[in-house]
């Protein structure tokens, strides 16, 4: 008496997503670039050809050597291998970028979900507070926090995160407002489900895709911001290698020793471009409505 079940293997949803993802060459390029960046983030210090330079060792005999087979991106003012420093610097950049995006997403999701779901005055107050936070320039706030708490990895991540969450709050609020009008949410309400159950079982799980997409798109920019703080000298302290600090050092020796800026610049380009392409690809498969 029934229609035949749609024959579908268990992982069809995933396989279908992979299929759609592979349809786009740019997404695949982005995925490869991100994979490369993540590989260096985890194994960078180990894979680096001159691990002693990463640890702070110098080789003044080999200062400012141009690119050569031994040093593909040359050496810096202390004779350290630029490629090794850049590879090792991936860890800090990616970790900091991810920390910023994750903290921002968590705070933003909580604020946005409460505002969108409760509505009324709560919504009004939370969203005006969000707007207020948006008016504070992130970099200035970070500098202020660094001045108050001192520079360092944790303070830097915290400082950037505090200016990062409003985007997520607005996104999640919009998604929650849309999701709570879905028929399956009405169905749950008609059953008698309480607000907690509706929010956590029905509304939020259906807002996850756009959050993930935004996180991926934001990663590149967060890495850039972290590097920016390093560049102006309030990020990670040397000798821990970091892309922004490396670039900042290289600036003093431009244009004569241009290669000192090459590797960190290229690394940032790959990271930012890769995460953006990946984010676009993820949006196409997870959140097709969000495409502009």
């Amino acid at each position: 008496m029934t229609d035949v079940p749609v024959s579908a293997p268990r992982n069809e949803g995933l396989a279908r997503m992979l299929y759609r993802f592979r349809q786009s060459r740019l997404s695949m390029i982005g995925a490869v670039m991100v994979a490369l960046v993540l590989l260096f983030a985890v194994f960078g210090p180990v894979l680096a050809p001159y691990p002693e330079h990463v640890a702070g060792g110098v080789d003044t005999a080999a200062r400012f050597q141009p690119p050569s087979p031994a040093h593909p991106f040359g050496t810096n003012e202390l004779g350290q291998d630029v490629l090794s420093l850049t590879m090792a610097g991936t860890t800090v950049s990616v970790l900091a970028g991810f920390g910023v995006v994750l903290i921002g997403a968590v705070i933003g999701t909580v604020v946005g979900a409460v505002a969108g779901y409760v509505g009324g005055w709560t919504d009004e107050v939370l969203m005006r507070f969000t707007d207020l936070t948006l008016t504070i320039p992130g970099l200035i706030l970070a500098m202020a926090i660094a001045a108050a708490l001192g520079p360092g990895f944790q303070n830097m991540v915290l400082a950037i995160s505090l200016s990062w969450w409003p985007g997520y709050a607005r996104l999640v609020r919009g998604e929650v407002l849309a999701a709570r009008e879905e028929v399956y949410v009405t169905a749950a309400r008609a059953t008698g489900a309480g607000p907690g159950r509706i929010l956590f079982r029905h509304v939020l799980p259906n807002c996850v895709s756009p959050i993930i997409v935004k996180m991926s798109l934001d990663m590149g920019f967060a890495i850039l911001t972290v590097a920016g703080l390093g560049f102006i000298g309030i990020g990670v302290r040397p000798p821990t290698p970091e892309w922004g600090t490396l670039l900042s050092n290289a600036r003093s020796y431009m244009p004569d020793y241009w290669w000192t800026a090459m590797a960190p610049g290229a690394a940032m380009f790959v990271a930012v471009f890769g995460f953006n392409l990946l984010g676009d690809g993820l949006r196409d498969i997870l959140d097709p409505k969000g495409r502009r």
Partner: protein, 343 residues
């Protein structure tokens, strides 16, 4: 004898998908003459909408692909036409109406502006749309387009059309919007109108008015209409002819009284048995078992055979050919039902 208004021959269409290439149209054949309203019916996924979209070449390729087939409008082959020429044909010689009247109107522009734009665009290809043989100056042309738009609104039954020209789409009800879309489709004086579920989103009383309007247009302007619907009641009351589609094939076609009065194909019979009517006793309705086949790997031969109680081994041998089953009535079945419908 002149060429028919529309002649579709052996039209095949495949769609690339995750599962592989689906054969969604499998040799569709259809001939529409002026003055005829053809109902195109079948379950969802049978290819009726894709047939309509294929005529005006609105199927994107890729993922779509046309391995073979011919679509002729008064003898002119459309499948070989360059995109620009095809665009000129749409809205001019071929009009289209879709199911959802809200999404097909620009919410930020006045109804009048939208109609005048359509009239001017149509006049660019044929100045007679504005009631002249030759294109006049821009101001005269705009005034003429306005006049045509008001006339058309009046003709589709919109009260006080002069004032309504200034309204925005949201000020109209669903039925009124669908009338505006019909006016828009008719303004270029199409010879062929393709209406894809034009009344599905509307209330029955409004549906009755729209269908009456459609019938009036056919008799007044001697046009041909393809009405895509899943509602056999609508077909029975509106259409002159009907083509029943199943899994990308026309399986039965002919004059509406013939086909619905003496359905020969088991699928047509099953569709009719699934509709409750006046005398259907509670619980006596017959659903159709099974689902539309997987079009990536369609069953060999007759695509309805796996769901058909009359199927035999030879049904899998090849696609059954169309054969005569009455006055203008044809059926593609090796074992057509001879006895009359048990009504």
């Amino acid at each position: 004898m002149t060429a028919p208004l529309l002649e579709i021959r052996d039209l095949h269409l495949t769609m690339r998908s995750f599962h592989g290439e689906a054969h969604v149209l499998n040799g569709v054949e259809l001939t529409v003459e002026r003055g005829q309203i053809w109902g195109l019916v079948g379950e969802s996924g049978c290819g009726k909408s894709l047939t309509g979209l294929s005529i005006s070449r609105l199927v994107s390729t890729p993922p779509g692909r046309y391995p073979s087939g011919s679509i002729r409008l008064e003898g002119q082959e459309l499948t070989a036409l360059p995109p620009r020429a095809m665009q000129a044909l749409r809205g001019k010689r071929i009009g289209m109406i879709f199911q959802d009247p809200t999404t097909n109107l620009n919410p930020t522009a006045r109804i009048g502006t939208q109609l005048v734009d359509v009239a001017l665009a149509a006049a660019a290809h044929d100045p007679r749309v504005l009631g002249r043989d030759r294109a006049p100056g821009p101001f005269a042309r705009k005034a003429a387009a306005r006049k045509v738009a008001v006339e058309m609104l009046a003709r589709v039954g919109i009260p006080d059309p002069e004032a309504r020209m200034l309204s925005y789409p949201h000020e109209f009800s669903g039925g009124m919007r669908q009338r505006v879309l019909i006016a828009m489709a008719l303004i270029g004086r199409p010879e062929l109108l393709i209406a894809d579920e034009p009344t599905t989103a509307l209330d029955v009383s409004v549906q009755a008015q729209i269908l009456k309007l459609l019938k009036g247009m056919v008799s007044d302007h001697d046009i041909g209409v393809i009405l895509i619907t899943h509602n056999l009641g609508v077909v029975s009351e509106t259409c002159t002819h009907v083509a029943v589609m199943y899994a990308g094939n026309v399986v039965e076609r002919g004059p509406v009284g013939e086909v619905l009065g003496r359905p020969r194909h088991p699928y047509t019979r099953a569709l009719m048995a699934a509709i409750p009517t006046r005398g259907t006793a509670r619980g006596a309705l017959k659903g159709l078992e099974g689902t539309v086949p997987d079009l990536v790997r369609p069953p060999p031969g007759c695509r309805f055979a796996p769901r058909c109680a009359r199927a035999t081994a030879d049904c899998a041998a090849g696609l059954p050919a169309m054969r005569a089953a009455g006055a203008g009535h044809e059926v593609a079945c090796l074992h057509p039902i001879e006895e009359p419908a048990d009504a």
